[in-house]
């Protein structure tokens, strides 16, 4: 019966509309620079790390420094092996969705060891280096709220957890020295 088909079709369309199931990427979303040889290793690592993040997570690249890369590397625990920091937007929940995750490499595999919340509209800066010149590297995360200003969080790794060292507001360019 055609009326039956129409009804089933209408129901499926409704379900599809309501579910909004997996709308494919727009053409604009698919534009990306081709991989260079140096970037290859980075790309592989980022693919590995993305697998460890929540399903709908979207990586954020800092606006300043690190040549716009979405992963920052640096040795935070002093064992000679670089850790990785990824800042991502968690689209699962409503509300504050920026998060930074710290990954540690153990036996060639990456493991997420700590995660902190971020603020504002986007990531201004992400980097691992010795800010306070105490011989240990710290993690610096700069968050931005547009023209209102920026906030810089500095974290130290202790017992495999990120501990907040300081919190500061900036209205001009970030001066990390």
């Amino acid at each position: 019966m055609p009326s039956k088909f129409i009804r089933i079709g209408a129901m499926l369309t409704t379900l599809w509309l309501l579910g909004g199931c997996g709308v494919p990427a727009t053409p604009l979303d698919t534009i990306k620079p081709p991989l260079s040889k140096a970037n290859m290793q980075r790309y592989k690592t980022s693919q590995e790390l993305i697998k460890l993040l929540p399903e709908k997570a979207q990586l954020l690249a800092p606006i300043q420094g690190q040549e716009g890369q979405d992963i920052s590397f640096g040795d935070m625990d002093g064992d000679g092996i670089d850790e990785a920091v990824v800042v991502y937007e968690d689209n699962e929940n409503i509300g504050n969705t920026l998060k930074a995750a710290l990954f540690k490499q153990q036996n060639e595999t990456w493991q997420k060891i700590s995660e902190v919340n971020g603020f504002g509209y986007g990531l201004e800066y992400a980097g691992i280096f010795d800010i306070d010149h105490d011989g240990n590297n710290e993690l610096a995360l700069g968050w931005s709220l547009g023209d209102a200003g920026k906030g810089l969080d500095v974290y130290r790794l202790s017992e495999d957890k990120l501990k907040l060292l300081s919190k500061k507001a900036f209205h001009e360019e970030l001066n990390l020295e």
Binding site: P2, T14, G95, N96, A148, H171
Partner: protein
């Protein structure tokens, strides 16, 4: 109400209900989707702004940094953004509204200064435009230092929602229209067949059995059309048989009557003087009267059979004796036509329970038929034997035989192989009925040009 109207009507009711439910559901989902999402986006923005403020800018006085903050808060939003102090006084407005306005009349602001997120939907007091406002408290070290307020016009939203609603309704109407047309077309495939059947049945009621129903589809209605056609052809055929019967019976009755009348006239004028002629004439009149009587008896029998009023009086019958008596009775007639009528009964046949007169009638009819269709120097053999639980009587002749087509019909009443042959066409039909009433069976096998074998089986 016609079937088509009912079919299309029920289609329409079902589809209208479905479309209606679907439309209501869609429109409500649509409104919820738009308004809820707008509110959520604004709330997110407000929350994000407030939390950033709390994290990094809480140390500075709100009013002093409000101009810079507003730029940041409004950075990612097309909505109107306001910053309010804890007393509800407007500090900053992204559309350049003059400050120092007291905003406490808005429900969302009241909520925000109490420390809770607030939402308000209503009309702009100045322009009467529909607006949605979301307020979020700004906290510094757990004290409320003010609020941030995001306001959007709903004009665009409402018109978009209305536009989509109109589109949805149009699509619904289109679906209903398509289904109605489809329903009309589809129901016609059913109703056309029914109309054909009804017209044909009407014609048949009028007595026109030559009409045939056109079979459109091989469905139940198609089968019904076939059945109706078959019924009409059967009625036509039996009508034909009845007419043939009446004309042949009239003819049959007339022949002996003509003969009797002719002889009576002859005898009236010459009979008194001519003794041998008188004798011959009376003989003929007697045999012709017998023929008439037999024919009338057959008709009576037939009408009794037809009404189911024929009765069988079972009594012990000695079959050997009965067969011999009948053969003896018919032998002279066979001899006159140069046919040898022989009898062959092997061992003694058992005595069975049967109606002697009826059985006699059957056997006479069968032998009579054989005599009629066998040419001179032919041979008729009557033999009987016992089989397990039954007695078989066979009448076999070397006559003209019966064609296959006729063979299928000879047991039917009124049927005659040749319409002009003498007889009522009832003999075999009556014989078969009588054997059936004896719980026996009558079977005919025949080869054209060689002869016919009639076999009667009677249970012992």
């Amino acid at each position: 109400m016609g079937i088509q109207k009912r079919l299309v009507g029920s289609y329409l009711v079902v589809i209208c209900l479905t479309v209606l439910i679907l439309e209501i559901f869609l429109v409500f989902s649509l409104r919820y989707y738009y308004f809820h999402n707008i509110e959520r986006i604004l709330m997110n923005q407000a929350e994000l702004s407030a939390s950033f403020f709390q994290q990094y800018f809480a140390d500075e006085d709100l009013e002093k940094q409000s101009e810079r903050l507003l730029k940041g808060f409004a950075n990612n939003s097309d909505a109107q953004v306001q910053i309010i102090d804890p007393s509800g006084r407007l500090l900053q407005d992204s559309t350049g509204l003059p400050g120092n306005n007291i905003m406490m009349k808005f429900v969302d602001v009241q909520e925000a200064v109490k420390g809770l997120p607030g939402v308000w939907k209503g009309e702009d007091p100045a322009t009467q435009e529909a607006i949605l406002a979301v307020s979020y408290p700004l906290k510094a070290n757990d004290t409320i230092v003010g609020g941030v307020r995001f306001i959007t016009s709903l004009t665009e939203t409402i018109s978009t929602v209305n536009q989509i609603t109109v589109l949805l309704i149009c699509v619904g109407m289109l679906v209903i229209a398509i289904v109605t047309i489809l329903g009309l077309v589809l129901s016609r495939t059913i109703t056309r067949s029914i109309k054909d059947l009804k017209q044909a049945a009407d014609q048949m009621t009028e007595g026109n059995f030559s009409i045939r129903v056109h079979k459109r589809y091989r469905d139940e209605l198609g089968t019904l059309a076939d059945t109706l056609n078959m019924m009409a052809s059967r009625i036509t055929k039996s009508e034909q048989l009845k007419n043939d019967f009446i004309s042949s019976v009239s003819h049959e009755l007339r022949t002996p009557l003509t003969s009797i009348k002719g002889w009576i006239i002859t005898l009236k004028s010459n009979g008194v003087d001519n003794k041998p002629l008188l004798h011959d004439g009376l003989d003929i009149i007697e045999s012709e009267s017998d023929r008439l009587t037999r024919m009338v008896d057959e008709l009576l029998d037939f009408s009794k059979l037809d009404n189911g009023r024929i009765t069988i009086h079972f009594e012990p019958v000695d079959l050997t004796e009965l067969i011999q008596r009948i053969v003896r009775q018919l032998a002279p007639r066979a001899a006159r036509q140069g046919i040898s009528l022989e009898i062959q009964t092997g061992e003694a046949l058992p005595t069975i329970q049967a109606d002697e007169n009826r059985l006699k009638q059957v056997l006479i009819n069968l032998i009579d038929n054989s005599i009629k269709f066998t040419s001179p120097s032919g041979r008729i053999l009557v033999h009987a034997y016992t089989a397990p639980r039954k007695v078989v009587i066979i009448v076999e002749d070397t006559g003209s035989g019966i064609t296959d087509e006729d063979l299928n019909n000879v047991l039917q009443k009124f049927y005659k192989g040749d319409q002009h042959a003498s007889g009522s066409g009832l003999g075999l039909a009556i014989s078969e009925q009588i054997i059936k009433l004896h719980h026996g069976e009558l079977r005919i096998t025949s080869t054209v040009g060689k002869g016919t074998i009639v076999q009667i089986e009677l249970p012992v």
